[in-house]
């Protein structure tokens, strides 16, 4: 099998840029949300549809990003 329908898009969650990547392998959709800088994966979700995988990955990323504290420099 091959990775198909690979896509990336950028959005902002809780004030942070997030990159959402999704692709399909056979019948399964995989989505990953990363924090762009430095690009660490925040969530990886597999689901039956692209929408479900991305929605869950975004929800998890939002939850983690909401905990990030900004210090006064």
């Amino acid at each position: 099998m091959k990775a198909e329908e690979y896509s990336e898009r950028r959005l902002e969650l809780e004030g942070w840029p997030v990159n959402v990547t999704s692709w399909r392998l056979g019948e399964t959709w995989h989505a990953k949300a990363d924090n762009v800088s430095p690009g660490a994966a925040l969530a990886r979700i597999s689901a039956a549809t692209k929408e479900e995988a991305e929605t869950k990955a975004i929800a998890r990323a939002r939850e983690l990003l909401s905990r990030t504290r900004r210090q006064t420099v």
Binding site: A3, Y6, W16, T21, L25, S37, A41, R44
Partner: protein, 294 residues
């Protein structure tokens, strides 16, 4: 699509293309290994025939905070069916962060032929290449002999302190600008692992991802020379790269050592998780100064 002339790098033999891996992953003398931040990525699908190494349990000592010992590295290689003459091809997610970490350890223990797949897992997926969810059965080897650790590739705390106090090496902070300034104590969304934010005084801020193209491949030799040389990191003096836990700085270490060919480059794997927790260690806060002003 980036058309980088890989042959121009100082050591082009340590880098292979995704096409090379597609053509050679089944060769008997080639072992392809995926190393991810999150091992779940491998389970979603990987290069056919590739095995996985988990950085937290297989590439780190699980008791002491340390890299593998010589004996542990030999065991890892043997379990992976790797001999001293195997071509070890490493790749992973996040633009090869932990693949570069594994590469660094393989070089510390003297593995001759180890290479990174340029662009890593991201490029393989984006190109719509073949994936497998099968874990290959590996026949273990038994005779792997690692060299004594080459500690010229690694910076431990005393060397970093010496570099900071006496300017004996250029310190390169490869974290994000917000981590460098102290605005955040860890990358957004990740656990904080330090008591203080900021950077080591005199360090230059050159985020690791400036060395990578959008597709995950490394930038060209000229672009890399400009990037690091423009910050005064030109190979004329020793370099120590650091990040938070040493994996992003492995990526930069690889660039400086093997793509630019700087002779003396060390990875400080203690990184900010060590420095930012030290009692009494000097810390600087604020954004990076322009080159030449720091």
């Amino acid at each position: 699509m980036y058309n980088v002339d890989m042959a121009a790098y100082a050591h082009p033999e340590v880098l292979v293309t995704t096409q090379w891996v597609a053509d050679h992953s089944a060769d008997p003398n080639v072992r392809v290994v995926e190393i991810d931040v999150d091992t779940k990525a491998y389970d979603e699908g990987h290069v056919p025939g590739a095995i996985a190494w988990a950085w937290t349990t297989q590439l780190s000592d699980t008791l002491t905070r340390d890299i593998l010992s010589k004996e542990q590295f030999e065991r890892l290689a043997n379990e992976a069916g790797v001999s001293n003459s195997t071509t070890l091809v490493l790749y992973g997610d996040n633009n090869n962060w932990f693949a570069a970490w594994a590469f660094w350890q393989a070089k510390i223990y003297g593995h001759q032929d180890v290479r990174l797949m340029d662009g890593g897992r991201k490029k393989w997926l984006a190109e719509g290449r073949e994936l497998s969810t099968d874990v290959p059965a590996i026949r273990p080897a038994s005779g792997y002999k690692a060299s004594a650790p080459d500690l010229s590739l690694r910076a431990l705390l005393p060397q970093v302190q010496d570099a900071q106090r006496h300017h004996t090496a250029a310190l390169v902070d490869v974290r994000s600008p917000q981590e460098f300034s102290g605005e955040i104590l860890a990358p957004p969304g990740l656990p904080e692992t330090c008591q203080r934010g900021g950077h080591i005084p005199l360090a230059r801020s050159i985020p690791w991802n400036k060395a990578a193209n959008q597709d995950g491949t490394f930038k060209s030799l000229d672009e890399l020379r400009q990037l690091y040389g423009g910050e005064g990191v030109d190979g004329s003096k020793p370099v120590i790269a650091y990040c938070r836990i040493g994996e992003r700085s492995s990526h930069t270490w690889f660039v400086l050592k093997y793509l630019l060919g700087y002779a003396n480059v060390r990875n400080y794997d203690g990184s900010w998780t060590e420095w930012g927790n030290l009692v009494g260690a000097p810390v600087e806060r604020g954004a990076a100064a322009a080159a030449g002003q720091g």
